[in-house]
Structure formats: structure tokens, C-alpha cells
């Protein structure tokens, strides 16, 4: 062989080899020969999972696995920590490239994104076996997020019930108690909040500018949404939405609410004690409790309700997530595992609640005495029992596949309205943008 030919053959083989290496890089570790559809062929009793919070949902999965293992020796769960944004990107990429065998057996999905993913990528999901999970043991509003065409694709996990958390010491300084902020309307809240601000210099709320989380919570509290039953956007002429935006505007203009620009700043406002309260999904309590020096100074209550909107309540939700079983999963094992822990074990919820604050959406778990235990951080208030009580009263809302488009369009509209644009005009524009995105 001469050099030129050697080089020539190298030239042909090298890219191929590199290419194989590039393709194989992701595939080899998981896909064993034989091409069985399950992702964990090593042991019959191993499940793989994607979730994002080591102190919360990953911790819950691991505890669930311990409990399940008692009756099923040899069962194991392998959790890959995957932040939600990455998880969504991975789902999209795998679905788009049709590599569904790369999926884990189970993965956690944000409730607000559930419809979108099931509708766009039905081939990523397995539906829950007909016999098995009793979905009537979950609040309807939470189950609805993951039902598409009457089929259940998700098992609700964490509870996104909204709470109004307040600093009792600051309220006391201004002559109020948490009871004064319970079962009130937003106009009461603004009046009392302005008073607190005048007397203590502390606002009661903070939020990320350009985020419409609070508006969406207000909407859901009145059972309203940005979409009608057919999924058409209803941003223009949406009375509860106009009312919610007007309320938001008053909150910001009165100074009762301060806007910041990033999530860390938002967390910082109440951890540093600059702001004396927050309204969000109950999961925010995890961040609230990082301020150890404020232990005993917080209490929670329900949300203010919109004035003059029919069907308005003091209850809402933000966030929350549900377990999905992937299309390449060992469906039977995965469903049985989830059913006997997240939808069937009080022991399980009793374990995870005190250490991680993961509040059950599974109603029977609420009967447990652990829930009614007073919490020291919240001045001895039985916070978890309260949240369960709120959860049962949250109105259902319709997210639809275009939830994020709607939410972002409304966020942009709010920014414009706060800068002086007429609300009706800004919402018309938002409606146009959402309709355009749906074409």
C-alpha cells in the first residue's frame, strides 16, 4: 500500500467513524441490543425518571421507591436531575427526531405545559391503564390539566394551590392581623396594604416585571381563562381579565406591589425582609423558609378575590406538576409504582411532607394527622391542613395547548399598559398576536 491510498482510505473511513461515534454517543448507554422498548433493560425492576428538584420532587421519587421496594424487592429508580426548561427542550428534541426510546419511564411535566405536549407530541406519552389509578381521589381542577380528549395522561403530584403569605410582625406594627387579610377583596387588600406601606414602609407584594403569574392567578380564582372551551383566545372583551389587569395596575401604582426584574430579585425581596408578604403557589413556602431569621413571623391565608366579577373566589393555583408515563416505558411497572405510592400511600405522603413540604394532591392523604401538625416557622399555624382546605376549592381553568402564547401576550400587554397604553388596545394587540401564533 502506498501513502496516497492509505490516506484516501483514511479519508473515507475517518468521517464515518467519527459520525458513528457522534450518533452512538447518546444511544449506546441506554439502548441495549435486542431493541426492547423499555429504557431500563438491565433489571426487570428498574425505572428511569426525569424530575428537577433534588429537595422536592426527586426526593419524593426516591422516598416513594423505598416504600415500593418493601413489597417489590429489587425495585430501583434511577432519577436524572433535569431542570424543567431542559426537560421541555429534551422532550421536544426527542419527539421531533423520533427517538422516543431515549425517554425515561416516567417524567414530571408542569401542569400548564401538559396539554401542549400531549397535543403536539402524542407519541411521547402512554395513557394510564384503565384499571388502576382512581383519579376521583384528586381535585378535579388538578386532574384536568393532564386530560386530553377524556384520556388521563398525568398523575398529579405537587399542589400548585395559591396562598397569601404575610409577615405577622409587620402587620402588627401597622395594627393589623392576618385575619384582616382573610376572605377580603382586592380593593380591601390595596386599601389595607397602602396603610401598611404608609406606617411601616414595607410593600406587601413583589413580582417579576413582565410576568403575568399574578394576573393568571386572579383569572383562575374567578374560574376564567384566556381561552374558551374550543381553545379560541378570549383576550379581548374578557371582563375578569380587564378587572385583573386594572387591579394589578392599582397594586403597582399604589406601591403596595413592587416590580423587580428577575426571579432571584423576587425571592430576595421577601427573604431580605424588604417586602412583607407574597402571593404564589404553595411551593413558594420552600423559598420563604430559607429566611431562618424570620421563623415564627409568617402566616398564610387565602387570596383576595376580584371585586364585582361573578364567580370570583378566594382560591387559585399557580404551577404544580404531574407525572407522565412515557411511550417507551415499562408501562405496567411505572403505573403500578405511581399508583401504589403517589396515589395510594398515606405512609409515603407522611414521610415527604415534614421534610420537604410536598403537599399531597391525593385527597386521602390529607386525613393524616401529620397535616394538622402546627408549623413552628408559621407561628404554630397548621399550614398544610390549610392548604389542603384551599386546594379543594380552587376553580378549574382551561389552559389549552396555547397557554404559554396567551400568557406571554398578556405579559407584554401588561408592560405596555403600565407604560400608559390603553388596556383595551393593548389586549386587542395581545389577542391578535395569539391568534397569529395559532395560525
Amino acid at each position: 500500500m502506498n501513502n496516497a491510498r492509505k490516506l484516501a482510505s483514511l479519508a473515507v473511513v475517518l468521517p464515518l467513524a467519527l459520525g458513528l461515534a457522534a450518533c452512538g454517543g447518546g444511544a449506546t448507554p441506554t439502548a441495549e441490543p435486542g431493541g426492547s422498548a423499555t429504557a431500563g433493560p438491565v433489571e426487570a425492576g428498574t425505572l428511569t425518571a426525569w424530575a428537577w428538584d433534588p429537595t422536592f420532587n426527586i426526593y419524593a421519587l426516591e422516598e416513594a421507591a423505598k416504600i415500593y421496594e418493601k413489597d417489590h424487592p429489587g425495585f430501583k429508580i434511577e432519577v436524572a436531575e433535569t431542570p424543567w426548561d431542559d426537560l421541555q427542550t429534551k422532550l421536544t428534541t426527542l419527539a421531533q427526531s423520533r427517538q422516543t426510546d431515549e425517554l425515561p419511564d416516567i417524567f414530571l411535566v408542569q401542569n400548564n405545559a401538559f396539554q401542549k405536549n400531549v397535543i403536539n407530541y402524542p407519541d411521547l406519552f402512554s395513557d394510564y391503564p384503565a384499571s388502576g389509578v382512581d383519579f376521583s381521589e384528586f381535585p378535579q381542577a388538578v386532574v384536568d390539566y393532564s386530560v386530553v380528549d377524556g384520556v388521563n395522561y398525568g398523575l398529579p403530584f405537587d399542589n400548585g394551590t395559591a396562598i397569601n403569605a404575610l409577615r405577622t410582625d409587620v402587620l402588627k406594627e401597622a395594627g393589623y392581623t392576618v385575619a384582616d387579610f382573610t376572605d377580603i377583596t382586592w380593593s380591601d387588600f390595596i386599601a389595607k396594604g397602602s396603610d401598611v406601606l404608609a406606617k411601616t414602609g414595607k410593600p406587601l407584594l413583589s413580582g417579576q416585571a413582565g410576568s403575568s403569574d399574578l394576573i393568571m392567578m386572579m383569572l383562575q380564582s374567578a374560574g376564567a381563562s384566556l381561552f374558551d372551551a374550543e381553545g379560541k383566545p378570549t383576550i379581548t372583551g374578557n371582563e375578569p381579565l380587564l378587572k385583573a389587569i386594572d387591579t394589578y395596575k392599582q397594586l403597582v401604582e399604589s406601591g403596595v406591589m413592587v416590580e423587580v426584574n428577575s426571579w432571584d430579585e423576587y425571592i430576595g425581596t421577601f427573604v431580605n425582609g424588604a417586602v412583607a408578604g407574597t402571593i404564589n403557589g404553595v411551593w413558594i413556602l420552600g423559598s420563604v423558609q430559607t429566611a431562618k431569621d424570620q421563623s415564627g413571623l409568617w402566616e398564610i391565608t387565602n387570596l383576595p378575590k376580584l371585586d364585582g366579577v361573578s364567580g370570583a373566589t378566594n382560591f387559585s393555583a399557580n404551577g404544580g406538576s404531574s407525572w407522565a408515563i412515557s411511550s417507551s416505558a415499562n408501562v405496567e411497572l411505572a403505573a403500578d409504582f405511581l399508583n401504589s405510592t403517589f396515589a395510594g400511600s398515606t405512609e409515603f405522603f407522611d414521610t415527604i411532607l415534614p421534610s420537604s413540604g410536598a403537599i399531597a394532591t391525593w385527597i386521602p392523604a390529607g386525613a393524616s394527622s401529620v397535616y394538622s401538625e402546627p408549623q413552628e416557622f408559621f407561628g404554630g399555624q397548621p399550614v398544610f391542613a390549610k392548604v389542603l382546605e384551599f386546594a379543594a376549592q380552587v376553580p378549574s381553568n382551561n389552559t389549552g395547548a396555547y397557554y404559554y402564547e396567551g400568557r406571554d401576550a398578556v405579559s407584554a400587554a401588561i408592560t405596555k399598559i403600565l407604560n400608559g397604553t390603553d388596556p383595551a388596545t393593548a389586549l386587542d394587540e395581545a389577542q391578535k398576536n395569539v391568534e397569529f401564533a395559532m395560525q
Binding site: 413582565g210 430576595g268 395547548a401 396555547y402
Partner: protein, 343 residues
Amino acid sequence: MAGPLIAGRYRGSVRPFSAAGRNTQLSVTVTAGRPEPASPAGAATPRRRPGFRSEQRRNLTGWVFLIPAALLIAWMNFWPMIQAFFLSLQTGRGTRLTWAEPLWYNYARLFSDEIFLLTLQNTFVYLIIQVPIMLVLALILANLLNDRNLRFRGLWRTAIFLPCAVGLVSYSLVFRTMFANDGLINDILMGLHLIDSPVNWLGQTGTARFVIILGLLWRWTGYNMVFYLAALQNIDNATIEAARIDGAGPFKTFWYVTVPQLKPMILLTAIMSTNGTIQLFDESWNLTQGGPAYTSMTMSHYLYELSFQKNPNFGYAAALSYAILLIVAILAAIQMKVGDKRD
């Protein structure tokens, strides 16, 4: 004479091959479509032939070196580009794609997409304001640092180049923290009594764009400066001395002697910066998240949002990426036309 000498040289280099290398010569001639078998090097061989063979062999070697990279680029870059083009002719959400009707539907859609037009405008604001300032600054810095009498030259050079070694995400996050409402910048400005209340830097369109431009300047000026420094090493000092002797001041020397000789490098950096700015993503994503109300979002950020955050509309996103490609190509062509006066 040159002719025989070269032939001799070639023959000399061929000879070591002749025993083992006969196959080569054969295969080379065959591929060249010359049926006559190669005769052993000798007086009978026409003079040009060994030269030609050698040239051919060198060509072949060249191709052999080129092929691996070329195949990889074709396969990993061009093939996906072609696929993306076909994708851009399809419409639908997720995996439910169908051919668009008419085929250019996604491209037509771009013109009626207000958010796209806004991101296009934002991107051009960054381009038009940031790139010229950056290149002029880099040019000035490079000239200052090229001064032989400057002390601690290495230190200055490193300090100015160092931002380039910082990850895009990390520097964006640092800028975001610095320009937060209770961040360093507001604290300093208030400490100096220049402002009474904190400026909401990232919450207003004008200031948010300003912060992004500032970040880009900090991150990329040093990078371009290094190109100019390298080019300055190649300028013959005699030309500058000659200008000085002829009585030209420092500015005139710089403008009429240095800059013209830097022209190819200026062209290169201009094209690279334009290209980079039009594809800007990290700063928009990490610093401002495109806000407030999309007014600081770049085209690439919008493209990402369309593909991965909203209902995945990959056909439309692919059309958008082709629009970006087209804009980059047109701008580069204009710059080459205006800037490159070779020939």
C-alpha cells in the same frame, strides 16, 4: 536553464518511489485517463510528463487532506441546512407537519409577524450602534497598546482581552445582577448622588437595550483588538516613520498610513461582528429575557422561543433561520463589495 533543472529535481524526487511506487504511477495515470502505461523514468519520457504527474499527485494529496473535513462539513452542516430548508416549507405544530400551501407560506408569514419585525428591528439597533463603536474602540486600543514605549503592555493587553475568556452566560448573569434595581450600578450612582431613586435598568426598553450594548462592548472589544494588534505587527514601521518624517501628525499617520494597511483586517472583523450580532442569543436570553414586552429580544431568541418554549412550530422557525442566513449573507456581500478593493 530552468526547464531541465526543474525536470531533474522532480525526477530526483520521484526516484525513491520507483521500486515500490510503480503502482502509484499506474493508478495516477489511469485516473487521469491516460491509457499509456508509465514507463520507467528515462530519456524516452517527454519532459512535461513527470512534472504533470507530480502536480497531479500533489493535487491528490491535497484532496486527501481535504476530504475528511469536507465530508464532515457536508454531512454535519450542509445536509442539515438542506433538511432545514425543506422543513421551512412545511407547516404545523410538533410532529404533525404537512407541506405548506403555498410552499412559501412560512416566509410570507414572517412579514406579517409583528414580533418578528420587532426582533428584527432590535437586532439592527444592536448592530448599527454596537458594531461601529466596538470596532473604533478596538482600533484605538490596539494603536495605544502597540506603542513600543508603553509600560506594562502585556498586562493591559491581557486585561482588555480577558472578558473574551468569560462565558457568555456567566457575564450576562453578572451584568443582570449589576444592573438590578438594588444592584451595584444603582448603589454607586445613588452613592455619588447622580440619581435620587434606583433606575429600573432592565425594565425599560431604552435602558435594557443600552445594558445589552454595554455588555457586548465589554465582552467583544478586546477580542477584536487582538485581531488589530496582530495586523499591526505586519505593518512595516518604515511606512510610519516615513510619514512622520514627511511631517504627518499622529492622527494623520494613523488615518492615512495605518488604517489603509489594516483594511483587510477591518473588513474581516466587521463581517465577523455583523454575523455574530445578527445571531445574538445569550445576552437577550440571560440578561433581559427579551423584555420588556419583546423590545430587547433578538431574532435568534425569538427563534428559540418558537421552537422550544411555545407550541413547537419548527417549520416557521426554520424559515426564520433562513431569513437570518439571508440577512447575514447580504450584509457580508455588501461589506465585501464596499471594503475589499483588491484586484
